[in-house]
């Protein structure tokens, strides 16, 4: 087995909104090739931490290192390069409403590569197939498709540049149980096909047990637990007890 290589390092991160302390010294490591979950009660700052990792939000102290770049001292051209190495899936998809699905997926390819239109069309069709969308729907606009399709299309867009790192913000929220399980299966499939590392925020217990390799639980502004799901029930945190006590089959 290859030695574990950490691709995201979070060290002593502090986040304060006005007077409210959100994070007070978070530490965690995310390794290459794993599906890593950020869990915790609502309002604990999971999504905030994810936004800090993708440079959408500033933190007050500490450091976050993504793929070897320290985000606190990153230069704008390095940041630009880093942004091409990851894909981000937002909670509601955040597809560009003025473009149809195919154009949404093609956009990064058009902007960042010199590929011919024919090649781009082929890549777009491939991405549409791999996320399980119907190619017939490629020319629909985001306002014309369902929530599940939006998430799939947004995932296809996040995968457009073949990133090695994927951030997912509540990928299964708002989906019906069947679509949610399909989405879990899709994420596992993509990981094995493309060798992705995935960081996700989730609330969906089934999805958590089905997909995640390791989790970090944020509670009371700190990391309450980091590790695999197997020995999670022995933990003392009240959130972990209530959240994981339902006895879902592992």
């Amino acid at each position: 087995m290859k030695p574990l290589q950490s691709i995201i390092k979070v060290r002593d991160v502090k986040t304060i909104f006005g007077e409210k302390v959100v994070h007070d010294g978070l530490n965690l490591d995310i390794n290459r090739g794993e599906i890593y979950g950020l869990l915790g009660p609502s309002g604990c700052g999971k999504t905030t931490l994810l936004r800090e990792m993708v440079m959408l939000q500033k933190y007050q102290a500490g450091s976050i290192e993504v793929l070897g770049n320290n985000l606190s001292s990153i230069k704008s051209n390095e940041a630009q390069k880093l942004r091409k190495e990851w894909g981000v899936l937002f909670q509601a998809g955040a597809l560009f409403s003025s473009l149809n699905i195919a154009q949404n997926i093609a956009l990064p390819l058009i902007e960042y590569t010199n590929l011919s239109q024919k090649m781009i069309n082929e890549i777009v069709e491939f991405k549409i197939n791999i996320v399980g969308l119907n190619p017939k729907d490629a020319f629909l606009f985001p306002s014309e498709i369902s929530g599940g399709m939006k998430k799939k299309a947004a995932l296809a867009r996040a995968l457009a540049m073949d990133p090695k790192l994927l951030f997912l913000d509540e990928p299964t929220s708002g989906l019906d149980p069947i679509s949610a399980r399909e989405f879990d299966a899709l994420i596992l499939k993509l990981r094995s096909l493309l060798g992705l590392s995935i960081v996700m925020v989730s609330h969906d217990l089934k999805s958590i047990y089905d997909t995640l390799d390791r989790v970090a639980i944020i509670d009371n502004n700190k990391i309450a637990y980091e590790g695999t799901l197997k020995n999670i029930q022995q933990q003392e945190s009240s959130f972990i007890k209530t959240f994981f006590s339902k006895g879902v089959d592992i």
Partner: protein
């Protein structure tokens, strides 16, 4: 609500029986409260709440009964409850369990007048600062992208020219035509009195070319395109499209902000030119009908007395007004918070602020040109 629900009040000596019958729910609590308010409790020593004839109570009724008990205890009256029905006891128990929370809700502090004035002034100051920092970011980091022509987003600029200017041609020309018409009509009446009919040309030419056309165009565009910038960008912020762009490495300033500003700066002078034509045309019609000045006479006089500098002064204002309208509209769009109310709020602000800014800018131009003797 059941029709045969009621509250029976029975006195025996110094005892009071309150017999609830049927249902107690949200809908009949206030009626019972009135009934109880009418009772004089001075001589009452003990009260019996008889809940045995109740079929159903909801949680609001549970709270009502619990608060009655508390109230009577405060008045030094003995209270006893008769109830054997498990459903009703369950509801009462549920209510007593959740009515008191362990940590009290934080009380909203009463703010002093000085505090409110301070916050308002500070917020306005912070707003001004954030607009200045928006302009700073726009100039400092984004205009260096013009080092190379490859970085200019021609497609987006063309799209914005169409959306915010070409589609505004109709409304700009109609408004200007009517303004020309009205101004000429009002002054024709006055000029006729002095027999100074021909001076309508001087008056119209200078006022329309120098002031009216640029202002009318700017106001129409601020209301039409400036507000749509705010709403579009604000919505993109709420749907996280802006975040998505940032994580994909597409700088919103280059993709959204600059094309809109440039498009408006290019088209504003053209719109003002069109507005000039339409307003003068409107005036010409009135001059022809009302003052018997033929089209040829009007044209001749126009080329005689109106020097070309008046036209250029009007046109030169265009790009400045356009920059103000577009940058305020976009800045307001970027200020939208994560709720739908703030789109409306910021759109209103964007229109008001950009019209105000345009008028201030026009005043500055006026002073500068007058002092320069132009």
């Amino acid at each position: 609500m059941m029709k045969n629900s009621s509250l029976k009040v029975v006195y025996t000596d110094s005892n009071l029986f309150l017999k609830f019958i049927g249902e107690v729910t949200l809908h009949n609590i206030s009626q019972y409260q009135k009934q109880l308010d009418a009772i004089n409790f001075l001589n009452v020593k003990s009260i019996v709440l008889d809940l045995d004839n109740l079929l159903f109570i909801d949680t609001a009724a549970g709270l009502f009964i619990a608060s009655l008990e508390k109230e009577f205890i405060l008045k030094n009256i003995n209270v006893s409850t008769i109830c054997l029905k498990p459903e009703i006891l369950n509801t009462l128990e549920l209510v007593s369990k959740y009515s008191k929370s362990e940590s009290e809700l934080p009380k909203i502090k009463k703010k002093s007048f000085l505090y409110i004035i301070g916050t308002v002034i500070y917020n306005n100051f912070a707003g001004l600062m954030s607009f200045i920092s928006f302009l700073g970011e726009l100039f400092l980091t984004k205009f260096c992208y013009f080092k190379s022509f490859k970085n200019i987003r021609y497609k987006e600029i063309a799209f914005e020219i169409n959306a915010s200017a070409i589609r505004a041609l109709g409304i700009v020309s109609l408004t200007s035509f009517l303004i020309g018409l009205v101004v000429a009509y009002q002054s024709a009446f006055q000029l006729k009195i002095y027999g100074a009919n021909i001076f309508i040309v001087d008056m119209l030419g200078i006022s329309v070319l120098r002031e009216l056309s640029p202002l009318i165009t700017a106001i129409v565009i601020a209301g039409r395109s400036g507000s749509s910038f705010t709403a579009q960008i604000g919505t993109m912020k709420i749907t996280q499209e802006l975040d998505a762009m940032k994580t994909m490495g597409f700088d919103p300033y280059i993709f959204l902000v600059l094309p809109r500003i440039i498009a408006l700066m290019i088209t504003m002078p053209i719109l003002i030119f069109l507005s000039d034509i339409m307003a003068i045309f409107g005036g010409m019609i009135v001059a022809n009908i009302d003052l018997d000045i033929t089209t040829w006479l009007f044209m001749e006089r126009f080329s005689e007395v109106i020097s070309v500098k008046h036209f250029f002064i009007g046109i030169i204002k265009g790009p400045f007004f356009a920059f103000l309208i577009a940058s305020i509209g976009i800045y307001r769009g970027l200020m939208v918070k994560d709720d739908t109310q703030s789109i409306g709020f910021n759109t209103t602000k964007s229109v008001v602020e950009s019209i105000f800014a345009v008028i201030v800018c026009d005043a500055i131009f006026s002073i500068v040109f007058t002092n320069l003797g132009i």
